[in-house]
Symmetry: C2
Subunit: 332 residues, 2 copies
């Protein structure tokens, strides 16, 4: 491998000074066309690529941003495309801005310190935290340290930190209202973990609609895994065998609930209608296909990236969710 050429070499070859070569490489307009031309030719001939470390050292910018996934998230990772959607969205924007994406899956122990150290030493220009738990201390720590931070999901304690959240409450309301409109009387819910904002909000949405429509709420709590959906559904059926609908706080649990309903001999949607949340690919392929609430995950990733890159103002943003009606709540 030939040694990588330096700006010095390019300048020598083009017969100009290093400073001028730098100007051309960085696209300054204040360079005479013929000189610009000569430098560009030298760059091409030598295959020159700027050394990022040297550049970062003087500019104090890293041209890369970190995307942090706390451990609990990575576990769900495999079956839940929410995260891959966010990654895709973030990646697109980052790529467009010609920056780099550093992915950090914070391990079990010492994950925080690692991210904190990494983020505060000028490695990255900003951090996106795909935190599921609204009480995560990391965003606050980094913000205090002066690192630009944007969170996916609203922190559960009010703060001034920018975030991009999904309209979980609205989505849940629309889902439950849909069940009400279908004439369902006894509408239960399988809620998500109550230490995650998504879990809390979706339950709140459910409660709000039931209150307005004068029905009583029937609640079981799961942990967003398929298995927990199955056992929560069993519990609901035991608690209230007459229930005729269930709003499940995510699709994975809904898949589990579907299994429990089948085992219990309940027809879907005949006996029990079911709505999920997330619109994962599998939701289209269940029998019957699952009515669910779609989230703009890629868009979320894009917005997160644009904010942290300062391409748009850092703010507290709520993205709309959308009800996707399929066979699990209506007969064609």
């Amino acid at each position: 491998m030939r040694a990588r050429p330096t700006l010095e070499k390019v300048a020598a070859r083009a017969g100009v000074s290093r400073a001028t070569a730098s100007r051309v490489v960085n696209g300054s307009t204040r360079v005479a066309p013929e000189i610009r031309e000569a430098v560009n030719r030298a760059v091409d001939e030598l295959g020159y690529v700027p050394n990022q470390a040297a550049r970062s050292l003087v500019t104090q910018r890293a041209d890369s941003i970190a995307l942090v996934f706390p451990e609990p998230a990575t576990r769900v990772f495999s079956e839940d495309p929410t995260f891959s959607g966010i990654i895709r969205g973030v990646s697109m924007e980052i790529e467009e801005a010609d920056k780099q994406l550093v992915l950090m899956l914070t391990g079990l122990a010492g994950g925080y310190q690692r991210v904190e150290r990494y983020a505060t030493n000028g490695h990255v220009d900003g951090v996106i935290i795909a935190s599921m738990h609204g009480t995560d201390p990391l965003p606050g720590i980094l913000a205090r340290r002066g690192v630009p931070v944007v969170c996916s999901g609203r922190p559960s304690v009010p703060s001034s930190l920018p975030y991009v959240d999904m309209d979980n409450v609205g989505g849940a309301e629309r889902a439950v209202r849909h069940l009400v409109e279908q004439g369902r009387r006894r509408i239960a819910t399988i809620a998500g973990p109550q230490d995650m904002i998504a879990g809390i909000d979706r339950l709140n949405g459910y409660r709000a609609v039931l209150r307005d429509s004068d029905r009583r709420s029937i609640v079981a709590v799961g942990d967003f895994t398929r298995e927990s959906g199955t056992s929560a559904m069993r519990q609901l059926l035991a608690d209230d065998p007459e229930l005729d609908a269930v709003f499940v706080a995510n699709d994975l649990m809904a898949l589990g609930a579907l299994t429990a309903l089948r085992q219990a001999g309940r027809q879907v949607p005949g006996d029990v209608a079911i709505v999920g949340f997330d619109d994962i690919p599998a939701a289209s392929y269940t029998e019957p296909p699952l009515t669910t609430v779609r989230q703009p995950t890629v868009e979320m990733g894009r917005r997160l990236a644009r904010m942290v890159l300062d391409l748009e103002e850092k703010a507290q943003v709520m993205l709309p969710t959308e009800l996707v009606v399929r066979g699990s709540t209506t007969t064609p």
Copy 2:
């Protein structure tokens, strides 16, 4: 935000030279205990974190490695946990080595150039390419440029580049042999794309066993998506209504095939036995649960990372796969 302290500041506070402070920070043993102590105290008090750019500039190392996913991979991403397994494995090793993971999802246009430029300018110490297509030119290009490269999956053109591959042939053979042992006579296959090494190898494994057991092969080709599994299955049923087993080259297509079989009124495993490949989570939850071939994806990620980090010798490695027998091929 207070400015980040430099080594100079730490040295001044500890009353030593910058060189000595550097020695302590980098763990040299040739420093008197009391001085080491003093420096460490200064580091703590000041909250010093080394500036990576400056360090990279002089050491010529980047302390980070890139994980590249070509576009076709990212599309499957969402439903196929193979990639998240690899990411997890890579991430674990990288974290252990205290390096960073740069994730690059190469976009549609100009993805190669971008990765090439990025990797050859000293940004990263090595590149892991999660290439699905064995003909990908990127690994060769980078290797020629002197960048350490390791591929996931064997290149289809023989080369000396190191890779970590799954035993696709062996897995397919075991799967098909399992069908033979179950007394199945007419064993079809839904093959994967024949421009991907996994697709080719799995078909070869199928063919080898059929040849040995004196059966004729019945082949349809899909593209690893669920939909293609459905239509390939329909085609197979049309081609040979008497078939009593099908080996499907991945689970996603197997899920699709299951749908087609159900629609065609075939009992699984009564009329038709079915085996998939990958052991995605959904495979445990189909009705009946899917017999499939499990791949050590996390292990694959680890090995890839260890090789590119030079923690183990770069070689051409084949990881074993494992047949997981479930209800889609046997009745309890």
